[in-house]
């Protein structure tokens, strides 16, 4: 009976937050669904009424649609590979006892504090600019032709910028996981004759599996929605070379003034996110089981 009371009380106490969350989620979702079936142009209020599935067919037949889907997946995948890989490397280094460990760790996290548009501006103008950027100077120093990063490799450039932003997050999660590995286990492996590389492969990496999974799942949520970096650096171009789904939705809905088609694109993004989520849970989700 005590448990029943506790349960009832708990339910009562949670009601406001659950209700707020539902409102928060359901209202925008319902509005999006509603708009996706409406004729709604910002440029012409005279066009209105039920649209059927025409908004959807308009959105998916956009010449940028398939490139955008591919680019969305490439950005998410590329950033995941870079942050997980480099994150493991950096975490391994930060796990070593070094002089000024505290300072190094704080500096390590700092890119995470830089807001995405600012980061994009810095990368665009200070680093990747083919005339006065740091990368160009480095190229010239070695006697090479400076690379026009954003012009020649727009998608790769965006992946690099976003990876730079997320690397601290991955490193931090992986570092804490690494620190939770018992010293005795590493010593046991050492006694068992495993050298540094084999200790990493057979002991440390399996221990990190769960942390890597967390990094992948959390980052994916954000990486499917990358927008600010594209807006500031390449504007989705050249052509559609760096247009991803969120940017295409912005193009169609806001720039094109077609709210109905934009809302339809939003629902396509929801479907894509779910497909990716199901795929990820199948692939790495079992690592989360205790």
């Amino acid at each position: 009976m005590a448990t029943r009371q506790t349960h009832r009380l708990a339910r009562l106490m949670m009601t406001p937050s659950v209700a707020a969350l539902l409102l928060w989620m359901l209202v925008p979702l319902a509005l999006t669904i509603w708009f996706s079936f409406q004729r709604y142009r910002l440029t012409n209020p005279a066009i209105s009424g039920f649209a059927g599935f025409s908004n959807f067919s308009f959105f998916v037949t956009d010449p940028a649609f398939w490139p955008a889907i591919l680019n969305t997946l490439l950005i998410a995948g590329g950033v995941l590979v870079l942050t997980a890989g480099l994150g493991i490397g950096l975490a391994l280094m930060l796990d070593q006892p070094i002089f000024g460990q505290g300072i190094v760790r704080i500096l390590m996290i700092s890119p995470f504090f830089v807001m995405p548009p600012v980061a994009a501006v810095i990368w665009k103008h200070e680093l990747m600019n083919p005339t006065w950027g740091v990368f160009a100077s480095v190229s010239r120093f070695f006697g090479m032709e400076p690379v026009n990063w954003l012009g020649s490799f727009p998608l790769l450039s965006i992946i690099l910028i976003v990876a730079w932003q997320w690397l601290p997050f991955a490193t931090l999660i992986l570092l804490t996981a690494m620190q939770s590995l018992s010293e005795e286990q590493k010593e046991a492996a050492e006694m068992d004759g495993a050298n540094v590389f084999r200790r990493f492969w057979y002991i440390i990496l399996p221990h990190l599996a769960r942390a890597i999974t967390v990094v992948i799942l959390i980052q994916t949520i954000y990486l499917l929605g990358v927008y600010a970096e594209i807006q500031i650096t390449t504007g989705g171009g050249p052509g559609f070379a760096s247009t991803n789904l969120p940017f295409l939705i912005y193009n169609v809905g806001v720039l094109g003034g077609n709210i109905g088609a934009g809302a339809a694109g939003g629902l396509v993004a929801v479907v894509l996110a779910n497909v990716v989520a199901i795929f990820l849970m199948r692939a790495v989700g079992r690592n989360l089981d205790a």
Partner: protein, 332 residues
């Protein structure tokens, strides 16, 4: 073969000297226990032998070969850790086989060895389980299995039983002792529990503040402790000590008598006192007696006796079993 020789080994951690100077000679096939209170450096000494810590000075020899500068993997020793240190993501089979895999042993031969070890340790039915599905005793056995497959020169045990409950500890104590009789490999075993030391060891090293207080067989330590520290540490319940006038009678700075060597009587004896707490173990009773001018003393009597808390009693030590110590605590 697996003789271990320590020559003037010392170890300093950041200016703090943990082990001042230890020289030991452990013979091939011997079961040697390092025992001492926590912080006495017994684990550090074991880790020095294992190669997990570097010596600050001195030499460590295995079978007469200097291994002081060799890494832990190249000394041919196996270690069982306090936390077992099993690899949680591997099955029992993979755990036991890990050292063989690291030695790049042929798969079929490794499989054979793992099966043999599992049979010796009664783990055959658990080979495909993960460590988290095993009980404490089984985990302990997997850790031992991982150690024995390599056929090391010597086994090093770092307080392997301290995570087990009391009943299991007694069982594992016997299992490890039997294993030693079977394998006849040198074993070095660290514990803070003098009962484990007394029951398992061929010879015991009593350590205190990084110094070897005494190195001898369990009965040597019991019968002829070299100093007051060993006398107080070995034996359960602890030895009673008397100082001042009571000790002066025996021309010593202090004298010690074990609880089992004191006679208790209601009428007459050397020391008068009053019974405080009585601990009944069934087979024995430990009476804690408040003795005039000498504080609380323990007396071991038969299980069924007529003494009750508050009784006035007399204690008489067995004169042949009195240990005398000088002012520095050394046995006279």
């Amino acid at each position: 073969m697996g003789s271990i020789t320590l020559e003037h080994v010392n170890k300093t951690f950041g200016g703090h000297q943990v082990i001042p100077d230890v020289s030991l000679e452990i013979k091939d096939g011997e079961f040697v226990v390092f025992v001492g209170p926590s912080g006495c450096g017994k684990s550090t000494l074991l880790r020095l032998i294992a190669g997990l810590e570097d010596t600050t000075g001195g030499h460590i020899k295995l079978d007469g070969v200097d291994v002081t500068d060799k890494g832990p993997a190249h000394r041919g020793l196996a270690m069982v850790f306090q936390s077992y240190a099993l690899y949680p993501h591997m099955t029992v089979r993979q755990n036991i086989g890990f050292p063989l895999k690291m030695a790049n042993m042929d798969k079929a031969a490794a499989e054979q060895k793992v099966n043999d070890a599992a049979r010796v340790l009664n783990l055959t039915d658990y080979l495909d389980r993960k460590p988290r599905m095993l009980s404490g005793g089984q985990r302990q056995r997997v850790a031992i299995g991982r150690a024995i497959v390599r056929q090391p020169k010597a086994f090093l045990f770092d307080e392997p039983l301290s995570n087990l409950d009391a009943a299991l500890r007694v069982n594992m104590r016997i299992e490890i002792t039997e294993l030693h009789q079977q394998l006849k490999t040198t074993m070095v075993y660290v514990t803070h529990d003098q009962v484990e030391a007394m029951t398992m060891a061929d010879r015991i090293v009593v350590l205190n503040a990084g110094r070897v207080e005494q190195f001898g067989t369990p009965l040597e330590l019991y019968k002829a402790p070299a100093n007051k520290f060993v006398a107080g540490f070995i034996g359960s319940p602890k030895m009673n000590f008397f100082e001042g006038a009571a000790a002066g009678k025996y021309q010593a700075a202090s004298v010690g008598v074990r609880p089992e060597h004191i006679r208790i009587s209601r009428d007459a004896g050397d020391w008068q006192g009053r019974v405080g707490v009585a601990e009944h173990l069934g087979s024995d009773t430990f009476l804690h007696v408040h003795v005039e001018g000498a504080g609380l003393q323990t007396v071991r009597t038969e299980g069924e006796n007529s003494f009750n808390p508050g009784d006035e009693v007399w204690l008489t030590p067995d004169p042949a079993r009195i240990y005398r110590f000088d002012g520095a605590g050394l046995a006279l």
